[in-house]
Symmetry: C2
Subunit: 444 residues, 2 copies
């Protein structure tokens, strides 16, 4: 059997990186709960028709087949490509058991069979918060989700994120004012601005979407507008297009940006080129980029979806944002910008003098663990030098020696070894839990 290798697009971290990821996810989760969002987890699979229902046509969905399945035995299932579509399905399914507006967070992996490239994975973590209303969901929720996302990301040890906000109604209203009807196609072309540039988008609008040069130029003029809310809205109005949907969108955008006025400069701007590829968005759309690494693309995204969970009888409008944990970590791990203080949770290694010492070593470990100190017993009565070497290689800060008359603790970093009262000895707080260390400026 050949030595196993990595699968492109399916990242796996080393234990010290997983420690960082886990602690980051804990922080995110704690923040979400402080805002009153309930945890939720949906199955990894959805019926294919649910996945294809809304805007997934351009996503590379992974379809599942049981290895031993008879033909056409089961409904066709696929792995979810985001957490919004499953959440909308869940809310529609469990409406009778939920209290609205229903606020949930969801931290799970999603799968997309896209061509892997820098920052794009086929399996990755998303951390989502969404709120879905029964019947209606006022636009101030759109602003609240942005505020919450800002508070979460600025509390994490990651570089500064800028939230860029637009409104699909503005885009659609503007395009309709231009006489266009293939709105989703145009949206998707404009959404590629960061990837293929203005010339590329213009070419696509004309040759693929059938726009005239004047229409394409107008779309690009709109896409160039970015800045504080009121100014951006005034610039859109100055372009001279009018349409009821455009007005509605501009009013929403202005209201949302107005509620974000208290955020730090650069934390959130109106950006009329943000479109988002998924076609279930119906109003506000968000995208968050690292200010110092814009080339990485969006590390957060989201928007308002009025129809995703709704059916003919029930309107269940929603809005939410998603934080791309794996993409962020991939970047930061790649730059060694985020590390853990040690690669193991263990604080203390109890050395083993002889096999006869095992019962005492195990009892000591048990007592330390009961006081919340992560403890290992070395597995064999090897020379103490070898046991210390194991602690060094594993980054365990303390080695404990159970002598006949006294107990000694060695700090592996200084080599200092001192007698201790076992019942009262506790490592300093900075050693008790694994710390996440950052060499990049913290987010703000």
């Amino acid at each position: 059997m050949a030595k196993p290798t990595a699968l492109t697009g399916f990242p796996e971290w080393l234990p010290e990186q997983r420690l960082v990821e886990q602690r980051l996810l804990d922080q995110v989760r704690r923040k979400f709960e402080l805002f009153g969002f309930s945890p939720l987890e949906t199955r990894a699979v959805e019926p294919l028709d649910v996945l294809l229902k809304k805007g997934a046509s351009d996503k590379e969905i992974y379809v599942l087949k049981r290895l031993h399945a008879e033909e056409a035995e089961d409904a066709e299932l696929g792995l979810h490509f985001d957490l919004t579509v499953p959440f909308a399905r869940y809310v529609s399914q469990h409406r009778g058991n939920l209290v609205f507006p229903f606020k949930r967070y969801q931290i799970q992996k999603v799968w997309r069979g896209e061509r892997p490239q820098q920052g794009r994975y086929r399996e990755f973590y998303q951390a989502d918060i969404d709120v879905i209303g029964d019947g209606e969901l006022p636009v101030h929720f759109d602003a609240e989700m942005a505020l919450l996302l800002h508070e979460v990301v600025s509390s994490l040890p990651i570089p500064k994120i800028q939230l860029r906000i637009n409104n699909r109604k503005v885009l659609e209203g503007f395009y309709r004012a231009l006489g266009l009807s293939n709105i989703i196609d145009v949206l998707r072309s404009v959404d590629k601005l960061d990837k293929i540039g203005e010339d590329g988008v213009k070419k696509a609008l004309i040759s693929e979407n059938g726009l005239s040069e004047a229409q394409a130029d107008a779309c690009l003029a709109l896409a160039r507008i970015r800045g504080p809310g009121a100014e951006a809205v005034a610039q859109v109005r100055a372009l001279g297009q009018t349409h009821p949907l455009l007005d509605e969108g501009l009013n929403e955008l202005e209201a949302v940006m107005g509620m974000l006025a208290g955020l730090p400069v650069d934390a959130a701007i109106a950006d009329l080129h943000i479109a988002r590829g998924l076609d279930y968005y119906t109003g506000t759309v968000y995208e968050g980029v690292l200010l110092d690494h814009p080339q990485l693309g969006a590390v957060c995204s989201g928007g308002r979806y009025d129809n995703l969970a709704s059916d003919d009888k029930v309107k269940l409008p929603g809005v939410g944002v998603s934080l791309g944990i794996s993409r962020l970590l991939g970047l930061l791990f790649g730059k060694n910008a985020l590390t853990s203080s040690r690669p193991t949770p263990t604080v203390v290694l109890i050395s083993l003098g002889s096999d006869a010492d095992r019962p005492r070593a195990y009892a000591t470990a048990k007592a330390l663990r009961a006081r919340n100190i992560a403890t290992e017993v070395f597995h064999a009565p090897l020379k103490f030098g070898k046991q210390i070497r194991y602690a060094e290689r594993k980054g365990i800060p303390y080695v404990l020696f159970l002598g006949e008359s006294q107990v000694e603790v060695r700090d592996i970093r200084t080599g200092q070894q001192v007698p201790v009262e076992l019942d009262h000895w506790t490592p300093p707080l900075s050693d008790l839990e694994v710390q996440v260390l950052t060499t990049a400026p913290a987010g703000g």
Copy 2:
């Protein structure tokens, strides 16, 4: 579009159940870390040949295909059916970056396309701990994994679990002493004892595996033996079969059971009918059942695998156990034996008198959250009765009213409303965090 429905075999919990699951997983994780196990997560997919390499032939593997894939574009991938096979692959792949004996825990979902039935899901959580040595891994690790598992499960709010322990070498040595050679087939037949009974197993051994009636009776005589370690070993010896592998296995089993002698009665017994279906086990095998619900089958399992991560050049023997979180929760949720104190993390709902009060309400919420109190602001200035009703339905224990001259807090359960000093008010600890409530006797 039809109303979405549940998919058989893919359980999804309500938010209040997910709160329980999450807090249970946190406890498990904390215990694993206190024992010095590092967190690890592997990708959900493995190349099919890795999944099929060892004993997965009888598992229903889910194979992935990209919806838009060209024929034969990618290596065939499947979803992992356990966490042991991916872990062994990971260790073999990253051997140079790991410190041995390498101890990790891994809590992830796994997928099996089995026919769903009570307690058997197609998607479910497993919580695994394993240790893999480089070159060798002494048998005392087999006992340590059992001790650790006992300590973890007895700390959880779940019914009592009994660990049943056997050794594959005993079974294989005994079968070889009987002159049998199709060991894995015989193992699998014996493993069905709980499901199909002695008559069923005997029939399978004779008609499917080709044993004589005397051979089948001997296999069943062995499978009937259970009890404390030394007694069970003596009973096996009394059956009169001899084989070097049988002796080796009995010595290991006796050693492991000897190290578990300090556990409570009923916590761990030797049980010679435990075989485990997967063929990668080479020595000790474990199975844990709920003493009060044996019909549910194994809620933990595991064993020693000397060859799973090894190749021609490197020996990487391992041993590990797996806790079936979803199966446990499915049972306990079904009996309403495990509930959360409320269905939301929110402790305080700040009521909204008018839209003009929003800034004050948001600032108050921020201050409470900074003091670790999960807080929501009600979304609209509706009548206070409606806002209180929302808190009641959501199980939020406190509603806060921002009056002009004073702030009042209402306890939703008593209806009592009192003025408070906002800067110092803190709910009692029992309300601050969601509590997991149990109506069944706690495990021990």
